[in-house]
């Protein structure tokens, strides 16, 4: 089906894709039912946002406490960094396709799989962020009478925020990109436009790509803003120097 595209005159460029986003189009294979339009775009985008946000939250819930704990204890460096490296090497397409053929997951299962893809970068960066905190600072806070939990919460965590956020942003890139191919596992996201070329046509594919890119950038900007807000004032001043 995609082979036909090679010979297809593509030179109309992006105009058709923008039309597809904003108004419904005739489709050859849906029996007269119209496809595209802003309503379907928003519906699919919403599913992708839900899927990505839930997966990201789950990944953070697993990876941040684990990273803080190992980082604080100074143990498990090989595991924490090794998981990060191994996670990067997993081809997302293979992961989703395998899960789809073997288990045939729906929404909850997919959230879990995407979360697993998001854990490695967050875990590694949290660990590294905590390990980088100056020993003198930690000792000083102990001297002030802080409990170990307070040391983590009030000293190590705030100082590790930039590193943790780097991990979260990396994980988000990964999760949002992989959520694009979620239709392979039966959850319809914006990727449905991309993967369903026989239904949506070339313009649909292009429209899917445009919407996916915009969505990914929205995530990126939101997190960049969040990072600025979460970084403590002292650290920001230090970085500015």
């Amino acid at each position: 089906m995609t082979a036909a595209l090679l010979t297809h005159p593509l030179f109309a460029g992006f105009t058709g894709a923008f039309e597809f986003i904003f108004s419904k189009q005739e489709s050859d294979v849906t029996g007269g039912k119209k496809v595209g339009g802003i309503e379907q775009v928003l519906e699919l985008a919403w599913t992708q946002i839900e899927l990505s946000v839930l997966a990201l939250l789950l990944a953070m819930l697993i990876a941040i406490p684990a990273g803080l704990y190992f980082g604080h204890r100074g143990k498990g460096e090989l595991i924490a960094v090794g998981i990060g490296n191994a996670g990067r090497a997993i081809p997302e397409l293979a992961a989703i396709a395998l899960v789809a053929t073997v288990i045939g997951v729906g929404f909850p299962g997919l959230v879990f799989v995407l979360a697993l893809l998001g854990v490695p970068p967050i875990l590694t960066n949290t660990f590294v962020g905590v390990r980088q905190v100056d020993h003198a600072t930690v000792d000083a806070s102990r001297g002030l009478g802080l409990t170990e939990f307070q040391v983590i919460r009030k000293v190590e965590l705030p100082l590790a925020v930039p590193s943790i956020m780097t991990g979260i942003r990396g994980a988000t890139v990964n999760i949002v990109a992989t959520a694009t191919i979620a239709p392979l596992a039966g959850v319809l996201t914006l990727g449905d436009f991309i993967l369903g070329e026989n239904v949506y046509g070339v313009n649909g594919v292009l429209a899917g790509a445009i919407c996916t890119a915009i969505l990914a950038l929205l995530f990126e900007f939101a997190l960049a803003g969040l990072q600025r807000r979460l970084t403590s004032k002292g650290l920001r001043l230090q970085q500015a120097q």
Partner: protein, 252 residues
Amino acid sequence: MISALSALPTAAVGEVGEGFLKHRTGETLPCQAHTSHLFCWDWATEHINRFGTPALQQFELVVISVLIGFAIAFAFALFAHRYRPLQWPLLAGTGVLFAIPSIAFFLLLLPITGRGRETAIIALSAYTLQIIYRNVMQGLGNVPESAKDAARGMGFTQRQILWKVELPLAVPEIVGGLRIATVSTMAIATLAVFAHAGGLGTQIYAGGNEVFPTAIIIAGGIAILMALGIDAVLLTVQRFATPWRRAAAEAA
């Protein structure tokens, strides 16, 4: 699209080609015809050849993309190192390219470059920019002021300091960036199938119904092994490029 993958097990039989079914029918039907089999050794040993060309294609894609990405990101980093105000815009710009899902990137290039290898290489090298740029900048930033001072004291020019002191000392971070870029690009290059650029993705997502768990596992496994292989090579390069680090480690 869901139908493409849900109709797998039956279709896998049709894929085996001539002579296969003649020899093994009914009771002796090979494991690939059974949905419950996660991995089918029979099929794997018989069909391992078909993964050769896609693996090579993917290897080529990754190496070319990372090399191009490195050349550009390295130039960016040197510029930003020389002209500080460029640092932020370059970081943000490469960050935007990094954030766009590669599959969308491939298709956005469609009206411009068409489908094929070039498209995949453009998108993949754009993806590596941020990783490499950030690491080179970090490496240059970590060079101790005292080392630069000493070089200045010896009469080094700004250019000599950059090439003979700062860059050699930044090698660990630079190679570190290359390693991350290669490993993640290798994983993402599996998606190059959507750009019609071949690669192992063709064995995972054929758009038809000839894919099943065994093929996915083999294709994914090859991608992971190639990533680890290149990673090991780069690690070796890093060790040879920084002999003083080994000397320090031995002395300690």
